[in-house]
Structure formats: structure tokens, C-alpha cells
């Protein structure tokens, strides 16, 4: 005897008592006239009853039930008596994740603020640039430096000549007579008379 395929799902739901009253009545009317579906319904009911009977969970005895209830109460009380610092140390994911996010955000914020402040307040080139200062000098700068050396030499010569000839001309006199530079002393005397 064949079951009506299109009714299989409704027949299963009817067996479970999960159909609305209207559909349930329709299935009941169909079962009255269809031997195949009636047998299918009976077979399914038998199997489900056997499964239920064979797989029943053992009941908790009153003693076990009381023990379970008191264990739960005791653990709940113990949990609520925890000191504040232990509660804060409770590293559950619900606390760890926001804490990690806040810490990361703080580190990033401090790094950004620190970097901005550093670059604004110092205005100095980094140390590494100082080390290469010489490389950064242009040819013109180098020329000035060379002339500086020459000026120093000239100054030394002037001091030396003052020592040799303390009654000689002052620097300003020397300056006025620029064209006498490079003459021998006797030539100079002759020229200055």
C-alpha cells in the first residue's frame, strides 16, 4: 500500500501534533479514506513511541536534585562574595577584548601625540643629519672656509711684524697703504719718507 507522497510531511507533523487545527482536520479526513497513509501513520507512531521509551533519560533522584540545587546556590554565593579586585582580575573574553582595544587605542594616541610634539618643539634636524653636515656644505661655503684660514695667517703675520717693529704703523695705517704690501723693509722706508 503506497503513501501519498505529497502528504508525507504533513503526516509527520500531524504525528507530532504540530499542525494547525484546519490542516490537522484535513489530514484526519484523508486518513479515513487512505489505507496506505493510515498504515504509514501507525508505523511512524510505533517507532517514535519505541524511541521515546528506549531512550528516556534517568530521573534525578530527590537527593540528587537537592544536591544539584544546593551546589548551584553555593557557587552563586561564592561568586558574589568575591572581592572587588578578584572580580576585576576575572579575565573573561568579555573583559579582555574591550581592554585590549582600549590599550591599543591609547598606545596609538600617545605615539601620535608624541611624534607631533617632538617634530613641532625641536625644529632641529635629526642627529644623523649633523654627522653628514660636511657633506651638505656647498663649494661656496668651502671657499669661505679656505679664506678664513688665509685671514688667520695674515693676522699672525701682522702680529709678528708688530713684534719685530713695535714703532711701526698700526693696522689702520697698513690698511691705508695697501699698495706697500709685499715690499722689503728698506723699500718700505724709502717709500714712506
Amino acid at each position: 500500500m503506497q503513501t501519498c507522497e505529497h502528504l508525507k510531511e504533513n503526516l509527520t507533523l500531524y504525528t507530532y501534533g504540530e499542525l494547525d487545527p484546519v490542516t490537522s482536520r484535513e489530514v484526519e479526513n484523508h486518513l479515513k479514506s487512505c489505507e496506505g497513509c493510515r498504515q504509514e501513520h501507525r508505523r511512524l507512531s510505533t517507532i517514535l513511541a519505541k524511541v521515546k521509551q528506549a531512550s528516556a533519560a534517568p530521573q534525578l533522584s530527590p537527593r540528587e536534585a537537592r544536591a544539584l540545587a544546593s551546589d548551584i546556590s553555593r557557587k552563586l554565593k561564592a561568586g558574589s562574595r568575591r572581592t572587588w579586585w578578584r572580580q576585576y582580575l576575572d579575565l573573561t573574553p568579555s573583559r579582555l577584548i574591550p581592554a585590549a582595544v582600549i590599550t591599543a587605542a591609547l598606545i596609538i594616541a600617545v605615539a601620535i601625540i608624541g611624534y607631533l610634539n617632538l617634530s613641532r618643539t625641536t625644529g632641529m634636524p635629526p642627529v644623523s643629519m649633523n654627522q653628514n653636515e660636511e657633506l651638505m656644505l656647498s663649494d661656496k661655503d668651502m671657499e669661505i672656509l679656505d679664506n678664513l684660514e688665509l685671514l688667520k695667517e695674515m693676522e699672525s703675520i701682522q702680529k709678528l711684524s708688530r713684534l719685530v717693529d713695535p714703532n711701526g704703523k698700526t693696522d689702520s695705517q697698513w690698511d691705508r697703504g695697501n699698495d706697500t704690501r709685499g715690499m722689503r723693509q728698506d723699500e718700505y722706508r724709502h717709500y714712506s719718507v
Binding site: 510531511e9 504540530e18 517514535l48 519505541k50 524511541v51 533519560a57 536534585a65 548551584i72 557557587k75 561568586g79
Partner: protein
């Protein structure tokens, strides 16, 4: 025809946990809503009443989902209650307390089952051979005989039936098995199962239908006994 209707029709789950059936409960019987309101104010009496009212059902669900491991079922039931009461202030009361609680029990058991499976896969990989399609093959050790010790006088036929049921359940996916067990063994309605498992009712119906077909096919030989 209605007299042939199975006693699997929708029954309020609360009826099975009526505190009046509890020999250890005395005094006035409060509605769940009142007990929940008091529990939110840390009233230990209300918490105890809710535990006494629902622990048997919670334990039965855990026992079925954990393949008859009584000790683990007790531990997971305790975990679920502790979790529920630690989070009771977050319970918005959009659903009934017991569906909310059963959801916690189911999730606790799913986590426990997953953990146990991982450990077993790690230490006993040969028990988890793959099917041809690559899906993991369930090991029979996952579903031990539930009352091998408590029912020594069981007939050979009864034992055979239990083995066949065990094999039939092993052929279901984890979700199908849970839905089938909640429906057939815990007599929860499809709406309650959907709420407890966070699924749509249509999804639960489809899984239940498929699971029923598979179990019926596997146990075909038992229909005339």
C-alpha cells in the same frame, strides 16, 4: 483517528516541571515571571525555586545531548544554571524563562560535545574515519548505552532496539539529532525548539522531517514488533 494520535502533541514544557510534582518544594507556587523578577534582585530563594523547577528537564536534555554520560550531564546542567543566573539581569523576558534556560543548556552541551570530540580526535584519531564524501563518520563511542548498568535485566530484544536506535541517531547530523531528541524525547514544540536553538521554525520543521525519515528507515524492522 484522533485516538491514534501520538502523545507527542505540543505540551507546555512547564507542565513537566510543575513544582507541585516536586516533593522538595513547599509553600506558595509563584509564576516564573515573579521568580525571575526576584532572582534579578539576587533573591536566593527565588533562584533555588527556579533550579528545582527546571533542573530535571535541563538534566534530561543534557543527558540526551551528551550521549548518556550522567556525570557530565550533571556538571553541564550545573554550568548552565550558573551561567543563567549570572546573566539573569540581561534576560529581557521576551521569551519564557525556560526556553531561555534551555537555550543555555543546549549551547553548553554543544560546546562540551565539541570539546570532547576535539580531544578524542587528537588522542584517538583512528576512531574518526572519514566517509567517502569527506564528512566525519560518527563513532559509536559517542553514544554509549545509556543504561547498561542500571538495566541488567533488559531483554536481548530491548538491547537490540537500543543499539538500533543508537545507530539510527548516529546517522543524523548533530543539528538533526538535537532537534529530533528535543522533539521526541523532551516533547518540546517546534516553536520552543526554534527559540531554544536560535533557528527559524521552518528550518526546525525541515530538519525534524528529514531526521524522522532517516530514523524511520533505520528502524523499519521494529514497526511490526
Amino acid at each position: 483517528m484522533s485516538n491514534e494520535h501520538l502523545n507527542l502533541a505540543k505540551q507546555p514544557s512547564q507542565a513537566n516541571d510543575n513544582p507541585a510534582n516536586e516533593p522538595i518544594s513547599s509553600g506558595p507556587v509563584y509564576a516564573d515571571e515573579e521568580l525571575v523578577r526576584r532572582a534579578k534582585n539576587d533573591d536566593p530563594w527565588a533562584i533555588e525555586q527556579l533550579v528545582l523547577r527546571y533542573q530535571k528537564k535541563a538534566y534530561a536534555i543534557a543527558f540526551q545531548m551528551l550521549a548518556g554520560d550522567a556525570e557530565e550531564a550533571r556538571d553541564r546542567t550545573q554550568d548552565a544554571f550558573l551561567q543563567a543566573f549570572r546573566r539573569i539581569k540581561q534576560f529581557k523576558e521576551k521569551s519564557s524563562f525556560y526556553t531561555w534556560l534551555y537555550r543555555i543548556v543546549i549551547n553548553t552541551c554543544i560546546d562540551a560535545r565539541r570539546r570532547r570530540r576535539r580531544w578524542q580526535e587528537l588522542f584517538f584519531p583512528w576512531r574518526f574515519e572519514k566517509n567517502k564524501d569527506g564528512s566525519p563518520q560518527h563513532s559509536l563511542e559517542e553514544f554509549p548505552d545509556t543504561d547498561r548498568n542500571s538495566d541488567p535485566l533488559a531483554t536481548a530484544s530491548h538491547r537490540q532496539l537500543k543499539d538500533d536506535i543508537k545507530n539510527a541517531l548516529n546517522n543524523l547530523s548533530a543539528r538533526q539529532r538535537t532537534i529530533f531528541q528535543l522533539k521526541v524525547l523532551q516533547e518540546m514544540s517546534i516553536a520552543e525548539i526554534a527559540e531554544s536553538m536560535g533557528l527559524a521554525e521552518g528550518t526546525v520543521k525541515t530538519h525534524l522531517f528529514r531526521a524522522t525519515r532517516i530514523v524511520q528507515k533505520q528502524l523499519k524492522g521494529w514497526t511490526e514488533v
